[in-house]
Symmetry: C2
Subunit: 389 residues, 2 copies
């Protein structure tokens, strides 16, 4: 049995077997329990819709009873599971909305230093609220999906001139930890921070692929758009929050103290060890960075309470991602733009060669582990851009 | 029969009658033809899903054959229609993604003058690409839905100090023209500009409600988030592009010439007269502005081709909005922040009183007309904010 997928974990995902209809399953080791075959007390139709959205809409009581029914069944008999190797995994959620935050102070400071070298690296709002933006829901894909290098407008050179259209020359990854939700209150009603974790179903690793040249040219004044919207990869299995009870740690202290709507009674972050590795086409893997999610400045509950503070609805299947998770040292940076410091300092690969940004054929893998729980990895291989017109 | 809903129009919407299941209908005058009662040649199940998304996924050939079948049936007999007054309209689409552009050069210049008074009002990218960002799909609501004034972080005063949390004091509207789509190419394949109009089903008026204080404080560097995500109102009826064939006009010339992926063989804008009116609680209506969509710098086809240039998917039910439509003169500005010039010059109301920004109880109505075709209006009344914690 692979480490990290024991009875204490039981992540949930959507799979297809032999080209059949999509099914919802719970993973134990190398096997999958098909939830439609189990008396879970919930309408089995929710497991046949092709994503977890309908299941997530049932809310926490149903999540708990399904988890308990699955655990009990697996304790009795785990000999008849569907082999993970025999199925194709689908994207576990079809996010009605996808929000990406910017919650690592080290990452935000690094980007600020690169993009605004003459100013304070953190803008005045950064320590006051979890800065975030809406990403493109239809570009959220499951681990294993190849990622085509995007075409787009690349900025004029430093000496001026014209923008050009063609393949991004600065394709990057972003190592993030996300969460998916059930339904929150109706439109117009804020979600109080101490109810946020009733709505958070579980967590998933996220690679927010980024085209830095496109992003840099387009992002003022309305934020990232095509530099991010071509692909966002997530793990195939959502790890329920219950499985991470032992990974809760106090978050870093916040200065200044946040406004009351962002103050939780018992704030927590998750102690998740993270790593990102790159393997060139046919080559050996190099671990580019190792970091941990426990140092994130803004917590998941703060992210969600902020996103819903204006009465915006939180819907079942929504995806909220942390933003790039970087630590204080270069070996802990969660993106190539930081690891190569804007392309100035190439990163050496173990098998020879180096990278400033991603090349066609590169496979990028994100991994995460919290004690005995292994998060589902997020892998993706870069395909060449389509022909530019 | 109300003007503008004749046989040449036939907009499509989703309605509920007597608390029954949602139905898809075509509007003629004050009546609705229930499409499930008609032999349209398409699976009637697509009309029972609660939104137009499933119908839009069928593509242009089906859109055309349904329109032709509806027109033929209505020409034969329009005596048995469902009265518009007897139904409740639902939001016509459940947008998988919602993108808002910034395509009026007058609006972008006005905002630039206010927000960056010492710099060129247009940023260097503005004339090179249709600047846009992703909005919140779950906040898209149908005309008539009340809009609760959002809570949020308001910026520190000009002398410094702390941000505060509470009701937005600068609630605004934005007068926009949007379009909804069918499905585009698979993820990773751009949508060429000359195929854009195969994917555009029809147009709808959009009010992109905006909380200017929240927006101003949060928007750097990742763009608008909670200042926009609390509500976006759209018309209840989508006007098919076919009904606007006579409204096509050449767009303004663009300088510099756009890159090839943004050059259409036959570029067009829509000659739609627009107006926005405000009525205080129980008071008379004042027309705040009159303008026209024909002057938009970036066309719908350019907006869509740009949004899909990086291989992002366009999905059935997606909503793309123009951004605020302003003309050159104050009486043509499509937002209160422009009409009151950042709150400095209150706008007088016909029944007495004045406005810099919206007050609780105000009803705001957007209207549009293209020749004999009246676009469905977008109305919304401002409700007081919920209690701040």
């Amino acid at each position: 049995m692979p480490e990290g997928f024991g009875l204490d974990h039981l992540p949930v995902g959507v799979f297809v077997r032999d080209g059949g209809a999509p099914l919802v399953g719970v993973r134990l080791g190398d096997g999958i329990l098909d939830l439609a075959t189990l008396d879970t007390g919930v309408d089995p139709a929710v497991f046949g819709t092709g994503s977890l959205n309908a299941f997530l809409a049932l809310g926490r009581d149903a999540w708990r009873s399904v988890r308990e029914a699955a655990r009990a069944a697996l304790e009795r008999d785990a000999s008849e599971l569907v082999p993970v190797s025999s199925v194709r995994m689908l994207c576990p959620v079809d996010p009605p909305d996808y929000v990406d935050f910017y919650s690592s102070i080290e990452h935000a400071s690094n980007l600020g230093r690169m993009f605004r070298p003459d100013a304070d690296p953190l803008l005045p709002n950064w320590r006051r609220l979890p800065v975030g933006y809406h990403g493109r829901s239809s570009s959220v894909v499951v681990s294993g999906t190849p990622v085509r290098r995007p075409l787009g407008q690349r900025p004029p050179g430093p000496g001026g001139g014209e923008p050009t259209f063609g393949p991004s020359a600065r394709l990057d990854f972003e190592l993030e930890l996300g969460f998916v939700t059930g339904d929150g209150p109706p439109l117009g009603e804020p979600l109080p921070i101490d109810r946020a974790e009733d709505v958070i179903f579980g967590v998933v690793l996220v690679n927010d692929w980024s085209a830095r040249d496109i992003q840099r040219w387009e992002y003022q004044p309305l934020g990232p758009f095509l530099g991010k919207s071509f692909a966002t990869s997530i793990g195939a299995w959502i790890t329920p929050l219950e499985a991470l009870a032992g990974a809760r740690v106090p978050p870093p202290s916040q200065d200044p103290e946040p406004l009351p709507y962002l103050r939780a009674r018992e704030p927590w972050n998750l102690d998740v060890d993270l790593e990102v590795a790159l393997a060139p086409d046919g080559g050996a893997e190099t671990v580019l960075a190792r970091t941990n999610a426990r140092g994130l400045y803004w917590t998941m509950a703060q992210q969600l309470a902020h996103a819903a503070a204006n009465g915006a609805r939180v819907r079942a299947g929504d995806l909220y991602a942390s933003g790039t998770i970087s630590g204080p040292d270069p070996g802990t940076y969660g993106s190539l733009i930081e690891l190569s410091w804007g392309g100035q300092d190439p990163v050496a690969l173990d098998g020879g060669g180096e990278r400033t940004f991603l090349e066609d054929g590169d496979t990028l893998v994100l991994r995460g582990r919290a004690g005995s729980v292994t998060l589902a990895e997020v892998a993706g291989t870069v395909l060449p851009a389509p022909d530019a017109r």
